[in-house]
């Protein structure tokens, strides 16, 4: 099995990020960056698959030079190879241009049986890149996967469970395929010291626009039909109300309020 995992570097979810009111961009100076948490589940699933079925795990990310950190983390966890897609031509890409670029990198890696992505990134929260990559690669997409039931690499088939609202859907698909995973799928491992050492020694190639079989006009900001017009914080929500008193009294107050709010009819 040749598996590719697509990962993204995102601002630390624990950080309090401010928005520049002038430019509507996120003020990220001094903010720690981490691997998108959903992508860690994707890496883990790829490693588990390799442990069970053999093969190799390749990891790619598109981002600035410092995004190499998330690739080192994936290597430390046990991935075999990593590639950084880094070029000013890629900058400002929306989900369409990003998935186009990533799909071209996957084509360049070649012979891929399975692509694994996190269900979405925690910064943009679009959940579009995984499915778009599958569309570009013309392979089936299995989104919101919470369990891989079985893989038959000989016959080229995979059965997964998808976590849907109100239920689980089992889907069988041919390989190659792309899946996006949810956090219930596994428990990502911590890298070991040996893994960290190995990762520090592994050479990570950087691929620029000229290294990929791409149409230059479809990259970065120029290749993006959408752009972020404005970013703002959501309105502060009003604090809740705590009802106090004897239970029967409080319950009847609560019911009145729910009726007023038309929650109960």
């Amino acid at each position: 099995m040749k598996i590719v995992v697509c990962v993204k570097q995102v601002p630390d979810t624990a950080a309090d990020i401010k928005i520049d009111p002038e430019t509507s961009t996120l003020m990220l100076d001094g903010v720690e960056h981490i691997t998108n948490p959903f992508d860690e589940f994707a890496i883990e699933e790829a490693l588990l698959t390799r442990e069970k079925h053999g093969g190799e795990v390749h990891v790619i990310t598109m981002g600035p030079p410092q995004a190499v950190d998330v690739l080192r983390n994936a290597l430390a966890m046990g991935a075999d190879q990593a590639y950084l897609l880094c070029d000013t031509a890629f900058a400002g890409a929306d989900t369409l241009a990003t998935s186009y670029t990533l799909s071209k990198a996957i084509e360049k890696i070649g012979g891929v049986d399975l692509v694994v992505c996190g269900k979405q990134a925690v910064d943009g929260d679009t959940a579009q890149v995984g499915p778009s990559i599958a569309t570009y690669l013309k392979i089936p997409q299995l989104t919101y996967v919470s369990k891989v039931r079985e893989i038959d690499s000989e016959k080229g088939r995979i059965v997964v469970e998808r976590m849907l609202e109100g239920g689980i859907q089992a889907v069988e698909s041919s390989l190659p395929a792309l899946m996006t995973v949810v956090k219930d799928i596994n428990e990502p491992r911590l890298p070991s010291l040996l893994g960290i050492r190995k990762a520090a020694k592994t050479e990570i190639p950087t691929w620029t626009a000229v290294d990929l079989p791409v149409d230059q006009s479809r990259l970065g900001l120029d290749g993006s039909p959408t752009w972020v017009a404005r970013v703002s914080r959501p309105e502060q929500r009003r604090g809740g109300e705590i009802l106090q008193g004897e239970i029967p009294e409080v319950v009847s107050q609560l019911v009145d309020k729910l009726l007023d709010a038309k929650v109960l009819k």
Binding site: D69, R72, N73, A76, L190, P191, S192, L193, L194, G195, I196, R197, A199, A200
Partner: protein, 390 residues
């Protein structure tokens, strides 16, 4: 321009990994293990899986070979959360694995190191005796060669990692004869747990490191093969001194990490706790406490990392490791004392982690050479007139 205070990416990754492990896997169980005085095989083996045992051991012998600084940072991060687990790690590495790796022959290394580095087994260093503490040369335990076996008699006390279910071997320092100057000749001998005549009894009712394993050892005509000698006969005292030089770095790391943990708890509480209508950290009297803690910790870290740098660069570091051990444990003392003070009455309760820090700190003034012994080591190495012990 050689001075460089940056940690490289590899060391930052090690810190991050160990911090995540300590916060996710140790923190949730630390209070209960401490309360029950329970040694955790599970956490010990997890530390093994993550490669925390054998950081200075070659990959060929099962180690991760990340060097002393990586080891010190890992120990610091564990101690930030829990002294007991840090003790298991530090003693396992510095006192168990180190002597076997450094003084053992190839056969001894192949027999013991892979399982020790995997965290499946623990080795201990049997040095302290009921009547030989700071005066480590005054050991009464004897080993007499009877044809092809050593016959060992005596006892040891306060030996970390020596009596747990996974304690597999003890490096026993014993008197093996007289030196020409009339003093005892000391040698180190490998004695596997379970050898007839060797009893290891777990010590309970400790104030500190309650979920680490501490044993009292008894040797009664205990016989081990002649080949179990570590290095050469008569080298025991030097082996011990060299082992303790490195051990001090890891004990210092426990002081530094503990101080960091106690400081962070104080800072958090100083934000949350309100009195007189404002967070207590906003009062100058408390803000100054936090400023002092932070400054102390930075001093301790610089000294310890420098001593560690000397060790990694194969330079003498006896004096520096003694200074680092002394400073880190004393700074931990100051920091945790003020941290409990900031916590007020809550700091005296077991459900606040700072209470455990407060107890655990005290060991560091005493274990692996008391603060007084560290001062002797430093004084001897800076050229004071005469000998401070004489």
């Amino acid at each position: 321009m050689a001075l460089d205070f940056d940690l490289d990416e590899e060391l930052e990754s090690i810190r991050k990994m160990v911090r995540t492990f300590a916060e996710k896997e140790i923190a949730p169980v630390a209070e209960e293990l401490d309360e029950k005085e329970e040694f955790s095989i599970k956490l010990t083996q997890r530390m093994g899986e993550l490669g925390l045992f054998g950081p200075f051991v070659s990959e060929e012998h099962g180690g991760s070979d990340i060097g002393y600084l990586g080891y010190i940072i890992a120990t610091e991060e564990i101690a930030r959360i829990d002294g007991s687990q840090a003790a298991t790690l530090a003693a396992g590495n510095s006192l168990g694995i180190y002597p076997i790796y450094t003084f053992g022959n190839e056969e001894q290394k192949r027999e013991w190191l892979p399982d020790l580095c995997a965290g499946k087994k623990l080795a201990s260093f049997g040095l302290t005796e009921p009547n030989a503490g700071s005066d480590a040369g005054a050991s009464k335990t004897t080993a007499v060669l009877d044809k092809d076996t050593w016959v060992i008699n005596g006892s040891k006390i306060f030996i970390t990692n020596s009596s747990s279910e996974i304690s597999a071997i003890c490096i026993v320092q014993a008197v093996t004869g007289k030196r020409p100057d009339g003093r005892n000749e000391l040698s180190c001998i490998l004695v596997p747990n379970g050898t007839p005549g060797f009893t290891a009894k777990t010590m309970h009712k400790k104030m500190v490191w309650r979920s680490s394993n501490t044993g009292e050892l008894f040797f009664n005509d205990c016989r081990v093969p002649k080949e179990n000698l570590l290095g050469k006969q008569g080298e025991g005292f030097h082996q011990m001194l060299q082992t303790l030089d490195g051990g001090r770095l890891s004990i210092a790391a426990m002081g530094l990490g503990g101080a960091q943990g106690a400081y962070e708890l104080a800072m958090k509480y100083a934000h949350e706790r309100e009195q007189f209508g404002r967070p207590i950290g906003s009062f100058q009297v408390n803000a100054f406490k936090l400023a002092d803690m932070y400054t102390d910790i930075e001093m301790a870290r610089l000294l310890l990392y420098k001593a560690t740098w000397l060790a990694d660069n194969k330079r003498p570091f006896t004096k520096e490791s003694a200074m680092a051990k002394l400073v880190c444990s004393e700074i931990y003392h100051r920091v945790v004392n003020q941290s409990v003070q900031l916590h007020g009455g809550y700091g005296l309760m077991k459900e606040y982690a700072v209470e455990r820090h407060y107890r655990n700190q005290k060991l560091l003034d005493i274990g692996e050479g008391t603060s007084e012994v560290q001062r002797i080591v430093i004084a001897r190495n800076i050229g004071v007139p005469g000998d401070p012990l004489g």
